[in-house]
Every structure is written in C-alpha cells, then in structure tokens.
C-alpha cells in the first residue's frame, strides 16, 4: 500500500511559488470510537508532519484527532535549485511514514 500521493508540477520556475499537494494514507483514528464489542479504539493520528526541501524545513504541521482520515495538505514552496521534496510524518504509535518527490527548476 502506498503511503501517500504527491502532486507537484513537472517543472517549476526559479524563485516562483509552486503548489505542492499530498494525500497521506492514514486512518486518523480519533480515540473517541468503540469497536463492535464496545471496547474503546485507542487514538492513532498523525502528530507531526514535515516537508523538507534539500534538507531545509519548508512546511510543517501539527495534527490532532480533528483531522479526517487520509489527510490532504496543500501548500506553496519556492525553489532556487532543483532538488528533492522529502515528506515525513509520525503518528501516535510512533510509526514513521515518508515519501519524496523530485522538483526540476527550469
């Protein structure tokens, strides 16, 4: 199962903001639900989400149980050079997810 679906333009202009979109596959279990036997389902949501561009943090988010499953994030980044957008996230269970996308500056 892929962890995320990332959308970046095929090429971007130097110094001009471009749109980054990502859907992270995650159940974002709120902790308020119960299973069929009435037992509480422990909370498991993504706590931190970070996007780095060539090592520098360009976007980060702190999430909680108010965010729906499979969170969709959209933000803008400006690039001076071609490089790699690296996404990383950590949930309540300490499970780390990551994905990346190449950015070509023209």
């Amino acid at each position: 199962m892929p962890d995320a679906r990332i959308t970046v333009p095929p090429s971007v202009a130097r110094g001009k903001p471009f749109e980054v979109r990502i859907i992270v596959r995650h159940p974002m279990e709120t902790g308020y639900r119960t299973d069929e036997s009435g037992k509480s389902i422990p909370r498991n949501v993504i706590r931190t989400f970070t996007c780095r561009y060539n090592g520098d943090v360009v976007f980060s988010a702190r999430m909680s149980s108010g965010i729906a499953a499979n969170p969709y994030l959209r933000f803008f980044v400006t690039a001076k050079d071609s490089g790699q957008l690296a996404f990383e996230w950590v949930d309540d269970n300490g499970v780390r997810g990551s994905d990346s996308a190449a950015v070509t500056v023209v």
Partner: protein, 267 residues
C-alpha cells in the same frame, strides 16, 4: 381439427407472451428517461464535487495506485499476475466495469465486478480468495473501474441475466424493514427532495467503488446498499449476497447511459 387450432393458438399466445416478456424491460425501455438521469455527484455540494473532479485531491486514487501495483504483482500458486493474462489494464479493461454486473457462464451466476475479480483470482491465479471490502479487492476494483471512467453504463439484462434482473427489480420496488420503505419510494418518486439535511439522489451506482466521507474510506456499491438498508432498519444481506448482486444489476440497468465516475467521492 379443432384441437389442432387450439394448440396452434396457445403456441401463438406463448410466442407473443415471450416476445412481450422480453420487451418488458428491454435495453431501450428505461425507468428514468435519459435526459432526466442525474448522477449522484450533481446532488453533492461544491466541495465534494471539487474533490472528485481533481484526481490529485480525490482520496480514491490511493486505492487506484495500490490497485495498479496489485495488478502487476504475481499472486497464488499459478505465479501469475493480472497483467500476465490481461496485459495493460488501460486497454484490456476499458469498458469492463461499464458492462458489470453480468452473467458469467463458468460461474453460472450474475457477477458484479468484485465477484468477477475475486473469481479470476481464485480460478486463474489459484490464490486465496479476497474478502469483500478488503483493501486488496477494493484497490483492484478501483483500478479496473477507473479504466472505464467516462464510458456509459451498459449492462445486458436479457438471456441468462434475466432472472437476476427481475429479482433485482422486485427487491427495488418492495418495501423493506421496520420503516417499511422501498428503494423506489425515495429514489424513484421523491428524488431531488430533502430528507433532513440530505437531498435524495436518484440512487445510481455509477461512481462506485467510491470514497465516502462518512466512511473515511473507499467502499463498494454493496457497502452503500447495505448502509441504505441499515438506514431504513431493514435486514442487511451479507456482503456478496445474491440479493445485492441482483439489485446492483437492476441499478446498472436503471443507470444505463450515465458515465462511470469511479473512483467517485460521496458525502
């Protein structure tokens, strides 16, 4: 002489009966006239419509992506992947979802797309069957269904599929559950009107498997039908039950001409 005439007349009557029977719900006849057909997406809010319209924001594509991987991954003792026989899904699976549910001669029953994929997996790949609503089956179904996106729903209801179609129609028109409501009462006679905060749709399945915001997941048409039955406090046939497949066939006939939207987004 007289006996012969009577026999001849009854044969003629049977022949006419057969012709009329076949014409009762031929491909040309429709429950809703074609210009009045409205996909469920037209009843949705602008946010849901926007989410479905853009593949980059449609969460259903998470399943499509896994489906593509599964399509190319060998499974079972036969060591074959879907692609080993069917090649590139983009051409070989084009139009397949639009023709389902359909009668399968080998299985001897009408199968929906999920059943057809599951059958192929067991019979050809000799792999363990996939459970209904499992991530794997949903992913494969979404990937196969995507290849028919934009094509009109076009199912066969004659011949061997006839009996299933009639059962589906009877189910659709019969009252069910503690609320004693038939599918047709909402989706045929009162679509477009409000039911609390919801606008009642025409009840088409052309966007399924669809990402339903209420589910926070992709789900099959059968899951949606079960949810509807739950809503009217009726008994829910188990996933994969023939009653649900029959109903799916009737719904597909009812929706014929509507373009497929899978993977759709619904509230």
């Amino acid at each position: 002489m007289r006996v012969v005439q009577v026999v001849a007349i009854s044969i003629a009557a049977i022949a006419i009966g057969a012709v009329f029977g076949a014409a009762l719900a031929s491909a040309q006849e429709r429950a809703l006239p074609l210009p009045a057909l409205r996909s469920g997406i037209t009843f949705a809010g602008s946010d849901v419509r926007a989410m479905q319209a853009d593949d980059a924001s449609n969460p259903g594509f998470l399943w499509v992506e896994s489906g593509e991987k599964l399509w190319n991954a060998p499974a079972g003792t036969a060591g074959k992947s879907c692609a080993s026989c069917h090649g590139d899904a983009r051409s070989s699976m084009r139009g397949v979802a639009a023709r389902h549910p359909r009668f399968d001669a080998t299985a001897g029953t009408v199968q929906d797309l999920e059943a057809r994929i599951g059958d192929c997996r067991v019979r050809r790949q000799q792999a363990a069957p996939l459970a209904r609503e499992s991530e794997e089956l949903l992913s494969l179904t979404a990937y196969v269904a995507l290849q028919s996106r934009g094509l009109p729903v076009e199912v066969t209801i004659d011949g061997s599929a006839r009996a299933a179609f009639e059962r589906g129609r009877a189910f659709y028109e019969a009252r069910h559950g503690q609320m004693n409501i038939a599918c047709a009462q909402c989706h045929e006679q009162n679509w477009g009107k409000r039911l609390l905060s919801e606008t009642m749709s025409q009840g088409h399945g052309n966007a399924f498997p669809a990402y339903r915001l209420e589910w926070q997941s992709l789900g099959s048409l059968q899951r949606r039908l079960r949810a509807c039955l739950f809503g009217i406090r009726a008994e829910m046939p188990p996933p994969g039950a023939p009653e649900l497949t029959d109903l799916e066939l009737y719904l597909a006939w009812r929706a014929q001409g509507l373009p497929l939207e899978a993977p759709g987004v619904r509230r």
